[in-house]
Symmetry: C2
Subunit: 234 residues, 2 copies
Amino acid sequence: MAGKRSRRRIPEASVARLPVYLRILSEQFDEGVNSISSEELAEFAGLNAAKVRKDLSYLGSYGTRGVGYEVEFLIYQVRRELGLTQDWPVVIVGAGNLGQALAGYGGFGDRGFPVGGMIDVAESKVGSVVGGVRVRHLDELAQVVQSRNISIGVIATPGTAAQEAADALVAAGVTSLLNFAPTVISVPHGISMRKVDLAVELQILSYYEQRRASTEQSNGLQAVPAERRRGASA
Amino acid sequence: MAGKRSRRRIPEASVARLPVYLRILSEQFDEGVNSISSEELAEFAGLNAAKVRKDLSYLGSYGTRGVGYEVEFLIYQVRRELGLTQDWPVVIVGAGNLGQALAGYGGFGDRGFPVGGMIDVAESKVGSVVGGVRVRHLDELAQVVQSRNISIGVIATPGTAAQEAADALVAAGVTSLLNFAPTVISVPHGISMRKVDLAVELQILSYYEQRRASTEQSNGLQAVPAERRRGASA
DNA sequence: GATTGTGAAAGCGTTCACAGCC
DNA sequence: GGCTGTGAACGCTTTCACAATC
């Protein structure tokens, strides 16, 4: 059941694209598509075929030359590589606006990341129920993490509390963090960290907007290369 | 008042770090710090000094050798380069869970991105007020965009509606998009696009968790290099 | 003496192009 | 003939290391 053996490390840039392939493959599977070429997959993902093939080659040689990839089998391989054959309960620290939205969002549980706990420090929040989960005090974090075997923590606190939240999560035994607070947090070596900062994203867009305004020329940026767009007017 | 002239293009990777520097510089300024070295700035940002200097050098030569950078002046320069000397009102398409959270979040307006409009298609949503803004129907999008001179659109719809939302935004005249929907959307050349996908972030963490579980070794990932950490108990 | 600014080197990620296989 | 898998070339990003400057 442990598959082939722990394979070679996959470059981080490729890892970041695997979830996109997985979503597309799942959609195609639901529509009854059995086989897909790197060209088609690239089209859906807004990438080029060479990149798709290179990415998939890190999983192993699961395609068939002259034919393409079997969708169902590839889904299984990507899921396995991403560790999605099991659920990963998460604990959310911070039950404010953002924490509540995340808990109520639903997209977490659906995709194998059920909210296993919510944590806050405010008396007004502790004890309330958000998205079906009772909010508990930071003091109980370690107990929550250990009893539910949680390894992923989501930081949805204000920036000022983020480092404290991270420290508490790591102390409780969490080994991966997803940080929504607008602060750089530092973690011990060996702990994985991803960061989502809305203000940063908007400020990056602002840069290109401003540039567009001052120099009358376009720029590529993160834009999908638009290889065959779906009727985007303009 | 238009500064030096539209300067050379800054590499995308550097642009993405400027907002981080800006936040740190602003915090330091608030604490009364007048001067900062690349080493110190790097420390706060979880980067190394050479990268900081290279990034800042794209703005111009605003440091003083042997001394460092004057904080207030550098803030001004970064803000100018990022186009943050003006407000950029945004329109949010999708007034569901996520859209409401974004509108109510407050972090937008504070940082120069006021919510200039909210759009939905559901009769039940249109007319309601979210975060102080009245939700209007998709049919009114172009009017909202034009009357408030909006150039940034935020897509907070379900995945199935995201491409339609993007097309409508572009047709209405928006030139930058921030997409929260879990779908690849394609846009015409010249339109800027950034994407935030919670499920993708979690799945990336899952990969490293799974890897940690199967091979007993750590990996760097996006983790802060932890050059002098602040008491994170390992 | 300290710290910036920057060419040059090294490291990664993407793209090319084609051999290998169906 | 069609499509994958991949070494090699290319380009972007990071890091090094040091001359220039205060």
